[in-house]
Amino acid sequence: MSNSSTLWSDAIYRLTRNKAAMFGAFILLILIASAALAPWIAPYSYSFQNLELGASPPSADHILGTDVLGRDLLSRILYGARISLLVGFVATGVALVIGVSWGIIAGYAGGKVDSIMMRIVDVLYGLPFIIFIILLMVIFGRNLWLLFGAIGAVEWLTMARIVRGQVMGLKNQEFVMAAKAMGVSNFSMFRKHLLPNILGPIAVYATLTIPQVMLLEGFLSFLGLGIQPPMSSWGTLIKDGVESMEEFSWLLIYPGITFTITLFALNFFGDGLRDALDPKTTDN
């Protein structure tokens, strides 16, 4: 195990030296903390309406202003963060589980099983999945968990390819053969021998999948096919902002800035993680 701990401690060292990645991690921590603590730190409830006030620009009472119904924008962004980040993490989790299992089985089994499984991935790659998500949302109603599952079910393909490639490289190494010779079951082979050795690429790809998933959720919510009121995600806030941007531009600009900064942070952190775990790719 000394070998793998060196890899990880090296990686952590390199990661902490990467300013952009650390900055990304810092922003993410703040975001996650404020999303988790939203009920306690938000100045108002996300649904509290002050209809007399209506849409008001940023002021001392409402740091980021209020929307058309007089709801505090900062509070809505904080509560929206919960949904947006939740979608990001849960859907990525779904993608991770499917993709990693698929990739490990295909890579380890090899031969016909592998070629059939990867051919399926190739075929699915070529299909317009966003359309299918929309289709599912239309048919089965706009359900939050369905949304998680549908997005996750779309994003696993690249993960499967990456994992399969890694497993193909590992399976002919001595420690895997030794484990096989000792009669280790397939399941513990996956869990104890293969998985720990491919955690690096998985972590990198997962970090880079989160922003894509969040973009997809934002895209669906923007079209009105994702998160439904009274719940709000950053996608729905941007949608609302667009509707009234001519008079009340802050309603578009602040949620937009928050969303963009989050995506930046995730991308910086993901890139930094990739560079840290695999110094060879730094140039690309």
Binding site: P128, I139, F222, G256
Partner: protein
Amino acid sequence: MLNIFIRRLLLAIPVLLAVASLTFFLIKLAPGGPFDADKAVSPQVLKNLNEAYNLDASEWEQYVDYMSGILRGDFGPSFRFPGRSVSEMIATGLPVTFELAFYAILIALLIGVSSGVLAALKRNTFLDFIPMAIAMIGICVPTFLMGPLLVLIFGINLEILPVSGWGQLPGDKILPSITLGFAYAAYIARLSRGGMLEVLNQDFIRTARAKGLTERNVVIKHAMQGGLIPVVSFLGPAIAGLLAGSFVVETIFQIPGLGRFYVEAAFNRDYTMILGTTIFFSAMIVFFNLLSDLAAMWLNPRSRDAS
């Protein structure tokens, strides 16, 4: 080459059939009939409607009917717009969407390739950092935010470009095309920079320089052919992405294209329209993926000779 093309084309047929069947039966799973949402109609009217749209036949018959219709290019009638067929609506929307996508991809390629190649050639200078920083912005600012922001700046504040429409006012095609193309310009810039950096370090480039070619020729004739393969392979998936982007862009700018029809159909639960466009989009995307894979293969001498 031809072999691969034919093999992939043959594989595409069962895939599309499966997609069409799956979509058809998914739609049948949808709760409620197509005429439920409207005000209550008398049973007789409902019966006539069902008869007119062939909904009283068994599902299997409807399926066979529909599939044989598709083969003739007939996607059936629209449930929401009486008297209009889905094929008709695709035919009206498609040219608009294609034109938009064409401008977008043109912008993406022009900006993306030139800034990516330049960044690779002037590596670690100002000319590398600035375009790559802008590319990062392009990747992180989603289309549905970029569009409204451009409208806010150029349409509402500066009042120099129209805020919506397509082909009605001079210059109304500019903002939608830029909105749709910008994110792809960013991806293409990063891909071409990466591809060029890889190629520029290789021996054949050194050889080309050593035999006294001008730098211009080295870059254009030798480096770019290999360095831009990733960009060509990206074009297939990009078409799929452009299509999704067109949903947003056509909604923001009120462009009467296929993307907007699709979103409207999704809202109106116009099942036949959703069904038809889904199958049509899938076919288109499978085809473009095939095309871009082939182009990338053809550009890469190693895989070209191997086949």
